[in-house]
């Protein structure tokens, strides 16, 4: 088999809704799932203007008591206020010293390739303090990866640019 050259990324563009919405809005866990958590946030540009044409995809390790058919995948198209939302449950810790976390991809008009980030949980204070990825980050940027809130309602804004720019990852 010959080794193909990789296909480059291109922007998702502004007009994707009719193509990608069919798989969006699915909750990863049902209503009464133990540890059910709603994660909600905005995608904001460098002027703090909401980005209404972004797709945020969630990819996470299995949560405890994962429901049948679990894929660990969710997709949310931002609304006019730039908001996305997922309903899920905290994954089990990976067991390699990393704190429990969610992985996000962000696609939008103006992004020629996706942006990747992670959501960590504020109530995992001890695990976060020893997480090998968080420990690599300067203290003032670490907090951009930790969701705020409690009681099953978390908030995680994604700042594409600016003084509060979210830490984005290369993977």
């Amino acid at each position: 088999v010959s080794r193909p050259g990789p296909t480059p990324s291109q922007t998702i563009g502004p007009f994707f809704r009719f193509g990608l919405e069919w798989m969006a809005g699915r909750d990863l866990v049902p209503d009464r799932h133990p540890g059910r958590t709603v994660i909600r946030g905005r995608v904001l540009d460098g002027d703090d203007v909401p980005v209404p044409d972004a797709v945020v995809e969630l990819w996470q390790a299995m949560c405890p008591e994962a429901p049948p058919g679990w894929t660990g995948f969710g997709r949310s198209l931002t609304d006019d206020q730039g908001c996305y939302q997922f309903t899920t449950a905290k994954p089990v810790a990976p067991g390699d010293g990393q704190a429990p976390h969610l992985q996000l991809s962000v696609f939008a008009r103006g992004l020629l390739q996706r942006l990747v980030t992670r959501i960590y949980f504020a109530d995992e204070f001890t695990a976060n303090a020893s997480d090998p990825l968080l420990r690599r980050l300067p203290a003032h940027r670490r907090d951009t990866l930790v969701a705020s809130g409690a009681g099953g309602m978390l908030s995680f804004d994604i700042h594409l640019q600016g003084p509060d720019e979210t830490v984005f990852l290369a993977c």
């Binding site: 296909t7 009719f18 992985q103 992004l111 640019q161 993977c171």
Partner: protein, 234 residues
């Protein structure tokens, strides 16, 4: 901290900040990406084998009572891993404008007609050899507001899932010999010429159907984990 300046794959993917493409100005991050060490990567991605995908979802010309306007084409190819192995059973989604260059999207204000017989969205799962095939119509070119007299070359958007999180890819497929390609800042945001050419499908005589459809071939190879990261300073 090991950081990558701007571009994680360094050779094929476009940078985030491309001045010729105006929408990057307020959306491109300014901080360097932080490299996730390989041992901290989550290994597996989702499999969509149980998704409610029907064979008819891959035929964009059969989603309405009538035939869409335009030139009927087959688009086929294979989804491949970086080592050339086929990626089987994974999801490919496509979307595009109609033959007149108009998207079935409420925010598209291009004064070209909508086609009541064409939505422009399709999806399929790759076969055991990584192969896929769509039937659609050739999309039109359309104007956009990026710069004076700006036109996008005809293209089909592709969203593919590889074997893991690293291999997730969204891209665009172009058509051979399109005279608009040299003028398009999105196509030309891929700085490497050989990589840029891989975004252009090839006319494929073997997938034409006599009396029915022309054929184009577009193989997609996901890049996955970057091979040679640049080491930056903390």
């Amino acid at each position: 901290v090991t950081q990558v300046a701007g571009n994680p794959s360094l050779t094929v993917d476009p940078p985030y900040d491309v001045p010729e493409y105006g929408s990057t100005a307020k959306r491109a991050p300014h901080q360097p990406l932080v490299l996730v060490p390989e041992e901290l990567m989550d290994p597996l991605g989702p499999l969509f084998g149980e998704s409610p995908i029907r064979a008819s979802d891959a035929d964009l010309t059969r989603q309405h009572p009538g035939e869409p306007l335009g030139e009927r084409i087959n688009i086929s190819g294979r989804l491949l891993a970086p080592d050339g192995d086929p990626i089987a059973g994974q999801l490919i989604e496509i979307w595009q404008c109609n033959a007149a260059g108009r998207y079935a999207h409420e925010r598209d204000r291009h004064p070209a007609p909508l086609d009541p017989n064409f939505t422009g969205a399709g999806r399929c799962l790759t076969g055991p050899d990584g192969s896929y095939r769509f039937v659609t119509i050739r999309p039109g070119a359309y104007p956009w507001a990026n710069h004076p007299n700006a036109w996008r070359p005809a293209h089909v958007h592709f969203s593919v899932f590889g074997r893991n999180f690293s291999e997730r890819l969204i891209t665009q497929m172009y058509f051979p010999f399109d005279p608009l390609l040299p003028y398009d800042p999105i196509f030309n945001s891929v700085r490497d010429q050989a990589a840029r050419r891989r975004l252009v499908s090839s006319f494929d005589w073997d997938s034409t159907e006599e009396g029915w459809a022309l054929g184009y071939r577009f193989d997609i190879a996901v890049a996955g984990r970057l091979a040679t990261p640049q080491q930056g300073s903390p």
